[in-house]
Amino acid sequence: MSAAHAYATETAGYADTRTERAPRPTLYVVRGIAPARASLPFLLVVVLILLGALASSMILNATMADTAFRMHEAQIRLNILNDHIDTVRSQVQDVSAADSLAQRATALGMVPAGAPGVVDLTTGTVSGGTAATQG
């Protein structure tokens, strides 16, 4: 602005020295009119972003909390199942142990096999061999 003013002054001075010429119209520096920006949309965007961030973080947190809760529940169920597996496995090992099987077989009336005998087909006799007996 000061440059414009100086120019104007200078021009004026020039005009004074050449008075016989037709006076030139005075030039003014006109300030350009900046278009007024509406601040509302900008504010809205900011608010929306903020709200969005807030909401998404809340949703995210809620989801995570929900997942954590479900994990906790699943963990409890898993523990119960693992315990059950442990219990059942012990039971299976107990009943499948050789001495339990032997006892069970005895209880069912089974006896150890005896020594094999030989059937002589020509004479129809059995030689050797022992019958499977109790004990």
């Binding site: 947190n61 995570m64 909390a65 997942t67 954590a68 809760f69 994990m71 906790h72 119960i80 693992n82 315990d83 059950h84 442990d86 219990t87 496995r89 012990s90 090992q93 107990d94 499948s96 142990a97 050789a98 001495d99 339990s100 099987l101 032997a102 150890p112 096999a113 005896g114 020594a115 094999p116 005998g117 030989v118 030689s127 050797g128 061999g129 022992t130």
Partner: protein, 596 residues
């Protein structure tokens, strides 16, 4: 406002601001990390991931020892006395709930818990009354049962979770398996048997974990979560055949009881591989409760207790004489009842008899001491000593069990006039039942000694198996000598031999009885060692009975041998030979055993 007053206020304000800023900075920058850590520690729960101890398996992968979690249930007697049991009633019309008090105190608690534990409510109740803060009311309760008890919501009922060792097969091979005890931090430490020798491998590496939790116990999603998984211990698969082990343990327990003996043991091994199928000690302890057994019954006597092999030692003498002394089975010897050695020592047979002319094979079949010393005299002491050692005496077999004894054998140069002869019939030398089995296994395996092993493989937690490296056998006698000796040993179980009672219908048996007087106390050691089927051996067996009321190995140990060997033939699926019919004596021994 007065300007000076304003200044003062400004200064105070500034000072306050600086103080707050400073304090905030201090909290954030200096104390911050520490405080944050403390807070985190408060909301962090940590746990130990206890590594399960490796299993001990039988040859068929059935479980002999395993670890699992169980609970001890304790009771706070003061708190349980305040228990009140309410039952909820809902009015079907109004839907209104009412609560009725049906019982209270220890009596009610016991009545509700007893059915779950399978115990008497009154006995249980008695243990719950008092003012003690902690009394254990049940031990080793399964996790399922504990959850049921816990679900009752009785105050003062507290769990104590423990990783326990379970032995599903009870007494089965108890002395081989050993036991565990709790060390620092309740870590399980092997105390005997395989649990002890394999302890380092069976023990895994503990892990640990931590997670941040909220007040409700729920995991904080953004919190720190760390977990180091535990690495389970390596499992050990033994070579033991569990079904045969049951039969052998029953047979040895029966004979020890019937004979009023101190103890007995039976060993079954595969001659070609050295795999021990059975290692049965009488009165074997239950690994779950070792203290219930006497100290001696907790040890694997088969590899620890030594005894003079007696006539079993004659097998070594004959092997040496056949290999080195130029003796053949047909060589004739004049065998009087008593015989005076060139050095003046006098020897006699166990039974009086007239002067006999016996072949070497007959000397072995009749187990004549006089004949044996004449045969043994053909070989130098140094050579015989070498063979006794080559058959495994005086050396550890290297079996994976603790406290194995190498036996006793003095240097041949130190043998006195008598010992040089007694070692020919198995006196003045001592070894374990496993070593006795090893002698016969060597003969059965065409003269090659294969060290006995009770571990088949090690199984890592990821399932990869490391098999027991196969050990190269050591040739002790030539194949020819082994075959000749086998035929002579078959003669022992035929009619006229000392071990007729060991013969089995369908299976040819080669073996030797042994009866030795115990030097340190009265009584004898009765033994039978043999292998079957004699010409294509699948098993070598040693049966030892220490201080039986019946004296002789033939009558005491041979029937046990038959019972075990027959079961082994059935279980290994070995077809009988129809040409082999057992000697009459076997039937008589059966009848005798039945009467006894």
């Amino acid at each position: 406002m007065n300007p000076s007053r304003r200044r003062v206020l400004q200064a105070m304000g500034l000072a306050g601001f600086v103080a707050l800023t400073g304090r905030t900075a201090w909290l954030q920058l200096v104390e911050g990390p520490d405080l944050a850590e403390r807070a985190q520690a408060e909301r962090t729960v940590t746990w130990a991931n206890r590594a399960p101890r490796g299993q001990i398996l039988a040859a068929d992968d059935s479980v002999l020892a395993s670890s699992s979690v169980s609970y001890d249930i304790g009771v706070n007697q003061q708190r349980v006395s305040q228990y009140e049991h309410y039952v909820e009633h809902e009015d079907p019309e109004t839907g209104k709930k009412t609560y009725e008090l049906v019982g209270h105190g220890a009596v009610e608690a016991a009545a509700r818990i007893a059915p779950l534990l399978g115990v008497d409510p009154q006995e249980l109740g008695a243990r719950m009354v008092g003012s003690e803060p902690y009394v254990v009311i049940a031990e080793a309760v399964s996790p399922d049962t504990w959850r049921q008890v816990n679900a009752l919501g009785i105050p003062g009922i507290e769990p104590d979770q423990r990783a326990r060792r379970f032995y599903p097969a009870g007494h089965l091979a108890g002395t081989v398996i050993g036991f565990v005890y709790e060390g620092q931090g309740r870590e399980l430490i092997g105390g005997n048997g395989l649990e002890s020798t394999q302890n380092a491998l069976l023990t895994g590496t503990n892990g640990q974990g931590s997670v941040e939790i909220g007040k409700s116990g729920a995991i904080i999603p953004t919190g720190k979560y760390e977990e180091v998984e535990a690495v389970a211990g390596t499992s050990v698969r033994t070579t033991l055949d569990p079904d045969l082990q049951v039969i052998a343990q029953q047979a040895i327990d029966e004979v020890v009881k019937a004979q009023g003996a101190d103890w007995g043991c039976a060993v079954v091994m595969e001659p070609a591989t050295g795999k021990v199928l059975v290692l049965a000690d009488s009165g074997a302890m239950d690994p779950a409760d070792p203290l219930a057994s006497e100290a001696g019954d907790r040890e694997p006597r088969c590899v620890q207790a030594i005894f003079e092999p007696g006539s079993v030692g004659k097998v070594i003498t004959f092997a040496t004489a056949l290999e080195e002394g130029g003796v053949t089975p047909e060589d004739a010897f004049t065998v009087p009842y008593t015989w005076t050695a060139p050095n003046g020592q006098v020897f006699e047979d166990s039974h009086w008899h007239e002067v006999q002319n016996l072949t070497a094979a007959q000397v072995l079949a009749e187990s004549s001491n006089v004949g044996t010393v004449q045969i043994g005299d053909r070989v130098s002491d140094e050579v015989r000593h070498g063979y006794i050692e080559a058959f495994g005496y005086n050396h550890l077999t290297g079996i994976e069990l603790p406290g194995e004894s190498p036996g006793l054998l003095s240097d041949w140069a130190q043998w006195d006039d008598r010992t040089r002869y007694t070692t020919m019939f198995g006196q003045g030398v001592a070894g374990t039942a496993l070593q006795a089995a090893q002698v016969l296994a060597t003969v059965a395996n065409k003269g090659v000694r294969v060290a006995p092993r009770v571990i088949d493989a090690w199984i890592a937690p990821d399932g990869t198996e490391t098999a027991q490296p196969s050990v190269e056998g050591v040739r002790v006698i030539s194949e020819q000598t082994a075959a000749t000796l086998t035929e002579m040993l078959i003669g022992v179980t035929q009619e006229g031999g000392t071990a007729e009672s060991a013969s089995i219908d369908g299976y040819l048996v080669a073996g030797k009885t042994g009866t030795t007087e115990i030097l340190t106390e009265s009584g004898t050691v009765a033994s039978f060692v043999g292998f079957t089927p004699a010409r294509d051996p699948a098993i070598a067996v040693a049966v030892i009975v220490y201080r039986p009321s019946g004296t002789y190995g033939g009558t005491v140990a041979a029937p046990v041998f038959r019972k075990i060997a027959l079961a082994a033939m059935h279980s290994l699926g070995i077809a009988p030979d129809p040409l082999v019919i057992a000697a009459q004596a076997a039937a008589e021994a059966d009848a005798q055993a039945g009467a006894g």
